[in-house]
Amino acid sequence: MAMLKTFKIGGVHPAENKLTKDKQTEVLLPPKQAVFPLSQHIGAPAVPCVQKGDQVKVGTMIATAGGFVSANIFSSVSGKVSKIDSVLDASGYRKPAIIIDVEGDEWEESIDRSEQLVKECNLTPEEIIAKIKDAGLVGLGGACFPVHVKMMPPKDAVIDYIVINAVECEPYLTSDHRLMLEHPEEILVGLSIMMKALNVKQARVGIEITKPDAIAVMTEKAKAYSGIEVVPLKTKYPQGGEKQLIDACTGRQVPPPPAIPANVGVVVQNVGTVYSIYEAVQKNKPLFERIVTVTGKSVKNPCNLKVRMGTPIAQLVEYAGGLPEDTGKLIGGGPMMGKTLMSQDIPTVKGTSGILMLPETESVRKEERNCIRCAKCVGACPMGLEPYLLATLSENSDWEKAESDMIMSCIECGCCQSTCPSNRPLLDWVRLGKTTVGGIIRARNAKK
């Protein structure tokens, strides 16, 4: 057997714990009250376009993009706007949000709710991108970068590859895996639409070898579509990192920031995003639903749920059998890059890929020791950085040296910290350094 492809430097192999990979996606009923934070994507917060007391349907736009890098927000429920107020969200702070009291389940007529596959797409690239923009699509992998921005690469960049992120390298999460098994054709149509919009002839779908069923289905179905190739990848975290995935699938390496994938001729999208492109373009369905993996070792009924955005996390947790007694952390996302949530009242948003309930024994960090200089973090870093050094520089506020040692290249994957035998909080420090150095760089650029 030929060597499986993967990215070249670093990486770790955390315990996979894909408890829900064989669980059919179930549909969660709409909540009684839905909450839509205005800032659930990278970029400017959206601006509300409804007022208190307005009636909305499922799929009604309730907030418009607050800039080019921003996204529209749609109601996932029908009912009445109760208020616009500050609500605790996944960031751990109170942010403005639209709150809607649910009445019935009435959808906008324009949305095609049939299950039928629509293959034909006669729109021009401009029309496709406009539709994507109007539907408020953002990357569903977790970063929530508005899709239309990525679909309009810089003029001087020649894009010749689309790479689809279907590796789902985060432990526990299975929403992308389920999506590929349940809706392979839709994904491939969505991908073809993307290729048309970007005028790209080749696309590669990277799937880790731990999902042989998904690889089989996708490879079989892709035969009917031109230019789409499924690439089985060796399992290694963080393969889903944009740069690592491009490296693994095409062998190209994106230089450090400010370079973006378009600079090496590649656009990357998450497989869930591709599915939502299909829905937006072919079914006129804006982004207000997504698949969320609700999981954890002590959870009674770990499951994959199709959730209306704005549903409080408590409802998802309840469906999965309630919050286990031993829960230490409630995490939005996976264990490697997810964010701890402060309470169950937080609403699901576009970027909620999973809800993980981690037992307290796994949640509490072990006692920190001296750095024994074993260099395991250096070996694990997929960006070829020296986490031990960056953390120390951060701790000592040596921002200049941190910048010259490329702290801004860090992708915050957490490999370093998860390998550290001394349990050092390396990423806490590096993140602080990144934030500070990023601020210094912005201030410097603003001066110029």
Binding site: L88, G92, Y93, T340, M342, R365, P425, W429, L432
Partner: protein
């Protein structure tokens, strides 16, 4: 044998002589002209290199003074009274008078006032805790209690009180260099006028949440009711984003707002204790933390 010693002495002696001459020439030729006033001023400065003046350290501050030729707009708050006058005298001018300031911690969210809802398990640094989430309590504006301000202080003037979990300023040691204020990621610490007889009145809260939210999060939070604004005879209090603020340049220390505040958020420090009034019911009496006689106040 003696020959050997002699050779060694001569060789070493000559080497030393030659190198000495080289050093002398080099030091003469490449000597950097230093304004003699710079070391003079540096002598006067405390040498803590605290950075409170906005320069990287005391030598840089001295240089800046000489470069500018006056002390206008420059101030070393870390040095004792009169030092700026002396520096001004060296430069041939006069120092403008500034009211002495002190760092004030505007948070009263002690463990008792602010019930904990979550537990933070990361590096004990406010800057990192602040990035992680709103904090361990329902108040997302108040003190995180990891002590970045304590670490930033070069004068040993600020310490965490283990009972309240809040930092306390030692006003005798505080030089108002402002390093703690900069270190605090939530801008809770403010430099305020030290006040007459060290007496100060200030709103000990920075919570901008709406009243009910703030009140639920912390028993001593400003709820933005505006009563203090109305009662202030000097228009020193403003209310913005559900938060009252007392302008220390306008406040005349009448303490009317202190009595009016329903939450006990406004603190008055270093005032003499009120005479006991037995007829007043205990519930109407001023909150105990509002009055303090010790110099180490819960600021």
């Amino acid at each position: 044998m003696s020959n050997l010693i002699l050779t060694a002495v001569i060789v070493l002696g000559l080497t030393g002589l030659v190198l000495g001459i080289v050093l002398y020439i080099v030091s003469r030729k490449f000597a950097v002209e230093v304004d003699p006033r710079i070391p003079q001023i540096q002598e006067l400065l405390p040498g803590a290199n605290c950075g409170g003046c906005g320069f990287p350290g005391c030598p840089a501050f001295a240089e800046a003074c000489v470069k500018q030729g006056s002390v206008k707009g420059l101030k070393c708050s870390a040095s004792k009274d009169g030092v700026m006058d002396q520096i001004a005298a060296i430069l041939g001018g006069e120092a403008e008078h500034q009211d002495p300031k002190v760092a004030v911690v505007r948070c009263n969210g002690s463990c008792a006032n602010r019930p904990g809802l979550n537990r933070y398990d990361g590096v004990k640094r406010c800057s990192i805790a602040n990035m992680t989430a709103g904090g361990e309590t329902g108040c997302f504006f108040g003190c995180l209690g990891c002590g970045d301000c304590v670490a930033a202080c070069k004068f040993d003037a600020i310490h965490m009180n283990p009972e309240t979990g809040l930092p306390e300023v030692d006003q005798d040691k505080c030089t108002a260099c402002g390093m703690c204020a900069t270190a605090c990621p939530r801008r809770i610490i403010e430099l305020r006028n030290k006040g007459k007889l060290d007496r100060r009145v200030y709103v000990s809260c920075v919570n901008k949440d709406k009243g009910p939210v703030a009140k639920k999060a912390c028993a001593a939070a400003c709820i933005g009711c505006g009563k203090c604004v109305k009662v202030c005879p000097f228009e020193a209090i403003t209310l913005e984003n559900n938060l009252a603020y007392i302008d220390f340049t306008k406040c005349r220390l009448c303490k009317k707002c202190v009595a009016e505040c329903p939450q006990g958020t406004i603190l008055a420090v270093n005032f003499p204790a009120p005479k006991p009034k037995p007829e007043v019911a205990p519930s109407e009496a001023p909150k105990p933390e509002a009055v303090s006689e010790t110099p180490k106040t819960a600021e």
